[in-house]
Symmetry: C2
Subunit: 283 residues, 2 copies
């Protein structure tokens, strides 16, 4: 991405009315001589965050049973909440001149079988990328072959996209600096800067060096999170790294995140980089 | 539909926060003993209205050329506007207890070839209906095999759905009572209550009886409408009627619209019915 903070110069792409505006605020001739943001092709995937987890967990959508009125209502409520968040993210990107296009897994016809992806045709996503658009996907309530319905998490979607579209690298943006050896709220928590993933999918901490080589990582999962929290992120990230695709887990809106997006971490991790790199290791 | 105005009793399905609310307003236990709206399966399709036509027409999205910055921006802006409208319609239906699910043609992977549908897999829509959900589709900006991109109108979508899913009948809701012999703003305009469609697709006015049997219908198309206005509606309706599926064009939110939805017009049009029925005629 090469956007920076130049939203005043690029061709903004959200022309819908903002609250309080009575008319479209710009004339189109304002746009014609503005550059379009230029970047390598990429895909954005977001979770539901506070927009969907409440609806999903309280009604048990992730456990299935769509024939039950409460689950059906929760399914509808979850989709409303996540598509609302998706629209806000698409609009925020469009305002910065990124040609973002919301694509919902449910609408894409994706379905699961006991929460694993059963069918997820990527041709519409691939065609959007070929057309120079930036697909914005999200964790979603979907139909499940065995459970009737469930929640497909954004992390599982990323894994699936990575396996089939083979990106150069994957960046997970979070609200903490990366993966710690214990919950980051613990003052003694240590940031794991590099994790190596072996052929068999097992993973070990490369940096920093701990005395105990087989150190365990303690994680916590928020009670409202129906899709697994940090532990799911690590195991999905390890599955991606096993394919030879570097994964960076990094805090959003930091210089470290920008470095991860630029691709410059591929060959070396600078000493001052704060984040977790998860990489395949042949050793 | 059997909804009426019983939104206080049915299981509301929009649990997202309303503007000004700081917390989810109901507890889930409130919902558990409420009935779910029961109805025959149906699909909702809406156009873009004032939400998308401005964006589409000003930038020329319907004429293609996605490689041009202005068209690309218009494409993104159009999709934002129509998905915003779709979300509002899904939420309004969900609040009335209808298990509505937004499905965007672009996300469904539908594409056109010179504005006609080239590929539109209906399996995701069919699966949603089988699961007891109500798909809510909309006119959308889509990729076109020859033009790069164009606008797929809601009317063309309805035609395609009708041809493949064979509903009992199709209802077009508009802001006027039906099809008139000239623009309804003209004080001499006469409502055409019944139009017969022949095997060859040609159509003639059955009711009321005009002296001139080959009477022409004058229509106007709003300048901002990229997809054809009433003339497109009539010809899409005639194409549906030719399949033996009755089409009713009727004013939204009236007792006439309710009659059309109920299916009771299938065998006879009451004398006091205001609307246009378009039907296949073997004569």
């Amino acid at each position: 991405m090469t956007t920076g903070s130049n939203s005043g110069e690029v061709l903004g792409m959200d022309w819908s009315k903002q609250p309080g505006e009575s008319e479209i605020s710009s004339t189109l001739s304002d746009f014609e001589d503005r550059p379009v943001v230029d970047s390598s092709p990429f895909i954005v995937v977001h979770g539901a965050g506070s927009f969907g987890h409440f609806q999903a967990s309280k009604s048990g959508v992730h456990k299935g049973g769509l024939y039950q009125p409460l689950v059906k209502a929760g399914f509808v409520a979850t989709r409303i909440s996540v598509t609302k968040l998706n629209l806000e993210i698409v609009r925020a990107l469009a305002r910065e001149g990124i040609p973002s296009i919301g694509m919902s897994p449910f609408s894409c016809g994706w379905s699961t079988r006991e929460r694993n992806i059963a069918s997820a045709d990527l041709s519409a996503v691939a065609k959007a990328i070929e057309s120079g658009l930036v697909p914005v996907l999200h964790g979603d309530a979907v139909l499940d072959d065995l459970l009737d319905c469930t929640i497909l998490s954004g992390d599982v979607i990323i894994s699936h996209l990575a396996a089939h579209l083979k990106p150069e690298y994957v960046v997970f943006l979070t609200d903490v600096s990366g993966v710690y050896d214990r919950p980051p709220s613990d003052p003694n928590a240590v940031l794991l800067r590099e994790i190596a993933v072996a052929k068999d999918g097992s993973w070990s901490i490369e940096k920093p060096t701990f005395q105990n080589k087989n150190k365990q990582v303690e994680t916590s999962v928020a009670a409202h999170d129906t899709t697994g929290g940090m532990l799911t992120k690590i195991s999905e990230a390890a599955a991606i790294a096993k394919l030879g695709i570097d994964v960076y887990i990094v805090k959003a809106a930091t210089s470290h995140a920008l470095k991860a997006f630029s691709g410059e971490l591929k060959d070396n991790l600078p000493d001052d980089w704060l984040g977790t790199a998860i990489r395949f290791s042949n050793k």
